[in-house]
């Protein structure tokens, strides 16, 4: 098996993009993988019905952290909420560019679950 710790993953893990607090955030959500001890916080600022800014903070493994970094980058690029709502688990794997085993799937999709929760809160 090829290692899942490709250069890109290690880079996003060591230097996660959009990492930290987001002052003045409109919505802040927390999501955790209880069985791993991964915790992730995601904050979003909206701007005229679109994503204005997004940041995340996490204590977790390389996969969940890299996934948070990659996902927030993508969200910032797309901006349109309806399109962002369409992001699926498979898209996370594509972004990571690695083979994700069933046991690591919850690491790979943790930031996405936080994002979906945040957008649900906004619509609700």
């Amino acid at each position: 098996m090829d290692s899942i710790y490709k250069e890109n993953i290690i880079d996003h893990y060591k230097n996660p993009r959009n990492f930290g607090d987001l002052p003045g955030a409109d919505v802040i959500v927390k999501e955790a993988n209880a069985s791993c001890g991964d915790m992730l916080q995601l904050a979003i600022k909206f701007n005229r019905g679109q994503i204005g800014d997004i940041k995340f903070k996490s204590v977790g493994c390389a996969i969940s952290t890299a996934a948070g970094s990659l996902l927030t980058e993508k969200v910032k690029k797309i901006k349109v909420i309806e399109v962002i709502r369409g992001i699926k688990d498979e898209d996370m794997i594509e972004m990571l560019g690695i083979e994700v085993s069933p046991t690591r799937m919850k690491c790979a999709t943790l930031p996405l679950r936080a994002l979906q929760k945040a957008l649900r809160l906004r619509s609700g």
Binding site: I10, S35, C36, G37, D38, C61, A62, R104
Partner: protein
């Protein structure tokens, strides 16, 4: 202990092109051919439902099931095979006590004492029981060495709890608790004692009659037996007072539309068709362990653990948890690698064919207390070797290389 490895077919597997180094024995052990063959033989030659079968197969199956109960009961030191209830695993055994004994004996305002180092299986059933009956759960503190704080224990026992539920050997810290001494203390106030023996029975001699406890639960799959079978030993006088946990076929002596008379021991706790093949397989595992001798099992795993602790300590970025005194430590070592999440450590080790566990090992309260989210755990079995510990150490070198270049 040199040639046991060849008894375990799975250990000749290659993982990611590397020979399997299986260090996840606290989660489940592998099964020797001697156990697998007995299960196959049961299904190929003897399978029939137990009890009431007059035909030859029914008779054979019933005898095999009874012999299995005798074998396993004797192995853990029960004075009477009927004190042993077959359950699926330790968790089911503990739940059986929580329902069948707890609901009848623990009431509003009562105290149940357990400890901070428990596996969730010996914690959640008591929280749930407390919720149902209006009792409360108190926790004995664990000190920095990973041992139970005996002052804290004494204070909790002064509350005259109905039950003290504690682990014999911790599956995270590895701590071997002085359960006999603790049971003696608890008895002074009439407190009943339940021991979670999931990790103890596979690695050291255990004699439930000598421990002075009332309930002792263990799992077959952690002692080289099959999954789905385990034992709950209950002191006879306590078991006799207990009503069935589950009811139905097998648990009764008479059923009329106006009521039911429950069967004696142990049938009262054998609702439905039991896991006969599992019981027979567990008895085979017991025979296998008896041949090796539990003293030898303990000596072997102690030596490996001492070796692993020494090697791990020599790596600066590694922190080890649990007692430093190896007399108080079972055959496992949990640790963390600075700056690298436990899952990532386990994943890189898997690339090298090394199986370790990562996570909180179902001991979240203890991890929380130590300020940890997750740890890596290497746990040893009869087939592990020092060379395999060396491979683990080499593997950890690779982990650091992947993450720190």
């Amino acid at each position: 202990m040199n040639n046991v490895k060849s008894d375990f077919p799975i250990l000749s597997r290659k993982i990611n092109g590397q020979p399997l180094v299986y260090l996840d024995n606290a989660a489940t052990t592998q099964k020797p051919r001697q156990v697998i063959e007995v299960i196959r033989d049961y299904y190929e030659n003897h399978n029939a439902n137990v009890h009431r079968g007059i035909h030859t197969l029914g008779d054979e199956s019933t005898r095999m099931y009874q012999r299995a109960r005798e074998k396993v009961a004797d192995f853990v030191g029960a004075s009477d095979p009927n004190e042993l209830v077959f359950v699926r695993n330790t968790t089911e055994g503990i739940n059986l006590v929580a329902y069948a004994w707890g609901m009848a004996n623990v009431g509003k305002g009562d105290v149940i004492v357990t400890t901070e180092m428990e596996h969730h299986s010996n914690l959640v059933p008591w929280q749930e029981l407390a919720k149902r009956v209006g009792a409360r759960v108190e926790y004995v503190a664990v000190n920095q060495e990973g041992e139970l704080d005996l002052d804290s224990l004494e204070k909790k026992l002064e509350l005259k709890p109905k039950l003290l539920a504690l682990v014999h050997v911790s599956n995270f810290l590895g701590t071997i608790n002085p359960v006999k001494k603790i049971a003696t203390l608890a008895k002074k106030n009439g407190t009943k004692v339940l021991i979670d023996g999931a990790q103890a029975v596979p690695q050291m001699p255990v004699n439930v009659s000598e421990l002075g406890c009332d309930f002792y639960a263990f799992s077959g799959h952690k002692m080289y037996g099959p999954m789905g079978i385990g034992g709950l030993w209950v002191k006879r006088e306590v078991l006799e007072e207990m009503q069935p946990f589950m009811t139905g076929g097998g648990t009764i002596s008479e059923v009329h539309t106006v009521g039911t008379v429950f069967a004696g021991l142990p049938d009262r706790f054998d609702a439905g068709t039991p896991n006969v093949a599992g019981a027979v397989g567990l008895a085979a595992a017991v025979e296998y362990l008896e041949k090796i001798g539990m003293q030898n099992v303990r000596a072997h795993e102690k030596e490996l653990t001492a070796y692993a602790v020494k090697k791990l300590k020599s790596i600066k970025s590694i922190r080890i948890y649990g007692p430093r005194n190896l007399e108080e430590r079972g055959g496992l070592v949990a640790f963390s690698v600075e700056g690298i999440h436990a899952h990532d450590v386990a994943q890189v080790l898997d690339d090298e064919g090394i199986a370790v566990r990562s996570g909180h090992h179902c001991t979240m309260p203890m991890h929380e207390k130590l300020g940890l989210a997750a740890t890596v755990r290497a746990s040893f079995g009869i087939y592990n070797t020092k060379e395999e510990v060396d491979k683990l150490i080499e593997g950890l070198g690779k982990v650091k290389k992947v993450f720190h270049g």
